[in-house]
């Protein structure tokens, strides 16, 4: 499978080229994807924990906000 492409727009000349990622760029792209997945998992876990806590307390997010205000 070919590497993803990058669109490069030279703002000085106006030239626009589309080329495939180099091996280094692709390696970096994959590494960033792992970071992104971890970040997204962390966000999802945070949301789930919040929802679980609200459920245990038997209150809504709005009611929790009122309590903390």
């Amino acid at each position: 499978m070919p590497n993803p492409t990058i669109r490069i727009h030279n703002t000085e000349t106006g030239e626009v080229i589309d080329r495939q990622m180099t091996a280094d760029e692709f390696a970096d792209y994959q590494a960033q994807q792992e970071i992104d997945e971890a970040k997204e998992a962390e966000r999802a876990a945070k949301e789930a924990a919040k929802a679980e806590l609200l459920e245990r307390l038997g209150i809504t997010a709005m009611e929790a906000k009122l309590l903390l205000a």
Partner: protein, 279 residues
């Protein structure tokens, strides 16, 4: 009075006629010539203090001992609406400029002044196009503006994805976010990140009229870190409407010449961009 006849040297025995008295004597108080050439022809050796009038240019001149020089008559050189009374080596007229021009100092001009277009402010489109592939790289950005603004419309990708903003090859960003997720607010803070992320949750892979604006302030300076702020309105991975305001810093003192906006995964399925230089 008869018209001036020019100059004559009376010699012994000459008869002074009425015409000579009128044409020469009266006129020699101020000698009248058709032109400076006629004067030069008539007076081979002018004397300091002589005064003459040239009919072709309607100018009064006196002889300094070395050259004929205009007598300052105090007459205004102004002739036209909007004229300015200026000075070069003599009094001079500067005609009014065109609408909306401003008066500008310019040492190359004879009077040191000229009318010129006002220095331009506002926004200049530097580059525009459609998003494609997994990232957009805007390269070779001239450092001729105060700030940069990148406007992205209707962007979305082929998968649930984050956006990643980088400048040059900088891999060190601190940023904060205020997020409004369909009415639920949250604040988030990040330090030493390898890229700047404008969104909080992943964007969903469909055209949701998403809108993103990125501001890069004082991007051409070479001594201070670069401030960034972004605003994005989008539908997130749960297909819920979300607004994220992010602000932070790219830790580089180099002038920004390249801006990259990449998707964390997948490729752009839609979206357009306009990069503005802002003054």
């Amino acid at each position: 009075m008869a018209a001036g006849l020019g100059f004559i040297e009376f010699t012994t025995g000459d008869i002074l006629t009425a015409a000579s008295a009128n044409g020469y004597l009266a006129s020699q108080t101020v000698m009248v010539f058709a032109s400076s050439a006629a004067r030069a022809s008539a007076i081979a050796s002018p004397q300091e203090g002589m005064i003459s009038f040239l009919k072709d240019t309607d100018t009064m001149q006196f002889y300094t001992g070395a050259a004929w020089s205009n007598v300052d008559t105090g007459a205004s050189p102004l002739t036209t609406k909007g004229d300015l009374y200026t000075f070069s080596t003599t009094n001079a007229r500067l005609g009014v400029g065109t609408n909306n021009q401003v008066l500008t100092a310019d040492s190359a001009e004879a009077t040191g002044l000229k009318w010129a277009a006002a220095a331009s402010g506002g926004m200049t489109s530097i580059a525009s196009g459609s998003l494609s592939g997994s990232s957009l790289v805007l390269s070779t950005i001239a450092g001729t503006y105060d700030n940069l603004q990148l406007v992205i419309r209707d962007l979305y990708g082929s998968s649930n994805a984050d956006l990643r903003l980088t400048v040059n090859s900088v891999a060190d960003y601190d940023f904060g976010q205020f997020d409004n997720r369909n009415g639920t607010a949250s604040n988030n803070a990040y330090v030493s990140q390898s890229n700047f992320i404008p969104n909080y949750y992943n964007l969903s892979p469909s055209d949701n009229n998403n809108s993103l604006v990125i501001n890069l302030y004082d991007y051409a300076n070479t001594s201070a870190f670069k401030l960034i702020d972004t605003q994005i309105a989008y539908k997130n991975v749960d297909n819920v409407r979300e607004l994220t305001k992010s602000w932070g810093v790219a830790k580089t003192t180099a002038a920004v010449t390249t801006v990259t906006l990449a998707l964390s995964v997948g490729t752009y399925s839609g979206g357009t961009y306009i990069l503005y230089g802002v003054n």
